[in-house]
């Protein structure tokens, strides 16, 4: 039997269509995933993301440890509460996972990693931590609700009542512990403003109900996927995995090369690839004809196979099919995609496609 999140009963009550997602029963939609998509772009929607894995790392050596573990540099986290997006690489420079790291205090950092990679990540982190004096704790006592959209913050404040005092000041990509039972992070996976709320499993339903009361609509994994794709955000397992590096995944910007003496795992392999030049890169595609782009469709440049789509879907905001594709470096701004036996014209663009409710391509 699949694992259920603490909000399972709330989803069933709301008429969710449930789907298996890496061993979890998750809501795909509550009727129309396109309406849920627009709800987040225009107002406020919430997602049950309890399946995500929260890992707390405590100890005086947490900074030097993460400085070694992650391709982005935790030295960029200067004030407490600040968050950073990073890849975790193996020695070959391949992507084990992508994650967000939160600087809670000088001896406590929090990681949020993917659910499908949970066991692999925990084992890798534990192994790398052997040389350090740290306490690593998976927080399966916590659950996570993402509230996203232009009105997400004000509606969350309404739902939280007095506990929201002072949250107006919380900066973008910062986390704050409101009290012992609630951490509020101004992060997300939609390209909109909003929060990710981390709280004890037993309190999830009450907060979900309060958010519903405040006018936040439940949204499923279907809308989450089209929102993140429009926002130009990679999905681990589709857009990158252990067969590619960040440089082949549109994630160059997350690799901190300076200072040169920081010897993060995978650095040597990445430097070698950078110096030789990458053969493939991740780009955005916008279909110029009618049809829908899908994962694994072939991309053709100048009549020759050039790669394939890693995430393809229909963009509700643009009303067109969009995709990420990994194609040969040096391809121009036009290509064809093989869609159900036909070659359709697509434009090569630089993601994101949509940010803060507006088209940006």
């Amino acid at each position: 039997m699949n694992k259920r999140t603490p909000l399972y009963d709330m989803h069933i009550a709301a008429g969710a269509q449930m789907v298996d997602f890496g061993g979890w029963d998750m809501s795909l939609n509550y009727g129309s995933q396109i309406e849920e998509h627009h709800q987040v772009r225009k107002d406020a929607g919430m997602f049950d993301v309890s399946h995500m894995t929260i890992v707390d790392i405590h100890g005086e050596q947490v900074r030097p440890f993460l400085s070694r573990l992650l391709a982005n540099d935790v030295a960029r986290l200067k004030s407490p509460g600040k968050a950073l997006y990073s890849c975790m690489l193996n020695e070959e420079g391949f992507v084990l996972d992508d994650l967000i790291v939160y600087y809670m205090n000088d001896s406590w950092f929090r990681l949020v990693v993917n659910s499908a990679t949970r066991e692999k990540d925990l084992a890798w982190i534990a192994m790398q931590a052997i040389a350090f004096d740290l306490e690593i704790k998976e927080r399966d006592d916590l659950t996570m609700i993402a509230v996203q959209g232009p009105n997400a913050r004000s509606k969350t404040h309404q739902a939280l009542g007095e506990r929201a005092d002072g949250l107006d000041d919380l900066g973008v990509f910062y986390i704050r512990e409101v009290d012992e039972a609630l951490a509020v992070a101004r992060t997300g996976y939609t390209g909109e403003d909003g929060y990710e709320l981390m709280l004890p499993v037993g309190q999830a339903s009450a907060l979900w109900a309060a958010l519903l009361e405040a006018g936040v609509k439940p949204c499923g994994l279907g809308a989450r996927d089209t929102l993140r794709l429009e926002a130009g955000m990679n999905l681990y397992g589709s857009d990158m995995d252990e067969s590619v590096t960040p440089l082949e995944s549109g994630l160059d910007w997350t690799v901190a090369w300076e200072p040169q003496e920081r010897n993060f795992i995978g650095r040597q392999a990445l430097e070698k690839q950078r110096d030789a030049g990458v053969t493939h890169k991740l780009v955005g595609l916008v279909l110029q004809e009618r049809g829908v782009l899908r994962n694994h469709q072939k991309v053709i440049v100048d009549g020759l196979p050039a790669g394939e789509i890693t995430s393809g879907s229909f963009s509700p905001t643009l009303g067109k099919a969009i995709a990420f594709a990994r194609i040969k470096a040096g391809a121009g701004d036009k290509c064809k995609v093989e869609v159900r036996g036909r070659l359709l014209a697509a434009e090569v663009v630089r993601p994101p496609f949509v940010r803060n409710g507006k088209a940006c391509i």
Partner: protein, 130 residues
């Protein structure tokens, strides 16, 4: 519960068929099918004049989630398709049995319609699949 109108006929592949007065049939996808597919965003219609055998794939409906073939329920010739779906594929979600019709077919055999599955049999089929 999916809506399964009594007066229509059905296929195992979730098309519905209605018999028109002139002997032609109108074809669409069932409420159950549109629900499984989710929000439709693109429909590839058969051309008027195309001929198909029963079971041929003759149209494609694509939702945000997936593409799905439509199978021709009877041997015959396409005599009309629903132009409105080009700009508004969501009509299939909103009104699968009326505004969301997909094409009209002139069957080669005027009696073939009667052999199609009735509403009770189709209801039973989707109940088994749930």
């Amino acid at each position: 519960m999916s809506n399964v109108p009594q007066e229509l006929r059905y296929t195992k592949t979730h098309e519905w068929i209605s018999l028109n007065e002139d002997g032609s049939v109108t074809v669409g996808i069932t409420d159950h099918a549109q629900h499984l597919l989710g929000d439709l965003v693109f429909v590839e219609l058969p051309e008027v004049g195309d001929t198909f055998a029963e079971g041929d794939d003759c149209a494609v409906v694509e939702s945000v989630k997936a593409a799905s073939d439509l199978y021709c329920p009877l041997d015959g010739e396409i005599i009309a398709h629903n132009e409105a779906l080009a700009d508004a594929p969501e009509l299939i979600n909103q009104d699968p049995y009326a505004e969301g019709w997909i094409f009209k077919l002139q069957p080669d055999d005027s009696g073939a319609y009667d052999a199609l599955m009735d509403a009770d049999a189709y209801s039973e089929l989707i109940a088994e699949q749930d």
